[in-house]
């Protein structure tokens, strides 16, 4: 077996395999656009408010949240004062932190 053959078999083939696997890894992992939340690190995102049906938000709030033809229906953090808030009477629930 010549030197060229030896090099090709023992260096060329492993290198090829490494490259193929690395390539597959890059293709598979590069597609994730959503940033991941890691507790304790700053996390930059648009605030979202989910309701199973948007008409459940009081009219004032929805109008404030829909400036131009229904661009977005979930409310951002700044719009709550323009709604028609009902005085929180007898609300319950729980608070926690992590």
């Amino acid at each position: 077996m010549s030197v060229t053959n030896t090099v090709l078999i023992y260096v060329g083939i492993p290198a090829l395999i490494v490259l193929v696997i690395a390539g597959l890894g890059m293709v598979g992992g590069g597609g994730r656009g959503t940033p991941r939340y890691r507790p304790g690190r700053p996390f930059d995102f648009t605030p979202v408010w989910f309701l199973s049906s948007p008409e459940q938000v009081s009219p004032g709030a929805e109008a404030a949240a829909l400036p131009a033809g229904g661009q977005r229906r979930e409310l951002t953090g700044g719009t709550e004062n323009e709604g028609t808030p009902v005085a929180a009477r007898g609300t319950g629930g729980a608070s926690d932190r992590w």
């Binding site: 507790p39 995102f45 648009t46 989910f50 199973s52 808030p85």
Partner: protein, 136 residues
């Protein structure tokens, strides 16, 4: 209309909700959980994810007050950056979900959030609250 459809595509063709903290798959899971919770209990479940102003509890209660029938609504407000969770239940819901049970759901949500899993925690919490409201 469901949570996944809440936003119309913006000018770039990319729905703004995708700039939020969740991927499409997570949005679908949350959407499904919200829908099931609403259908099975005839209460209104709602999730807010974003920064809350101090005092955090009052801000969450203001948001809760904006839902059309606050007495029959449950709001789960999460602020990942402040690491705060507030569960607000309306006066009527409170009869079915006592504060103790809300706290229990909050604990399991916080456990997931602490591990970095926002969507998973929300789905678990919704499921717990809804099953509590169902049983009465």
């Amino acid at each position: 209309m469901t949570a996944g459809e809440l936003t119309a595509p913006s000018l770039s063709g990319r729905p703004e909700v995708l700039d939020g903290p969740f991927s499409t798959r997570q949005l679908l899971r949350i959407d499904e959980a919200l829908r099931l919770a609403d259908e099975s209990t005839d209460y209104i479940f709602s999730i807010y994810v974003g920064d809350l102003e101090e005092p955090v509890r009052e801000h969450a209660e203001r948001l809760h007050g904006q839902i059309t029938e606050p007495d029959r609504a449950v709001l789960i407000a999460v602020s990942p950056n402040q690491r705060r969770l507030e569960v607000v239940t309306g006066a009527e819901v409170r009869k079915r979900i006592p504060d103790r049970d809300a706290k229990l759901a909050a604990l399991s949500m916080v456990a997931s959030f602490g591990g970095g899993d926002l969507a998973g925690g929300l789905v678990t919490g919704l499921d717990q609250l809804a099953s509590r409201a169902r049983k009465g």
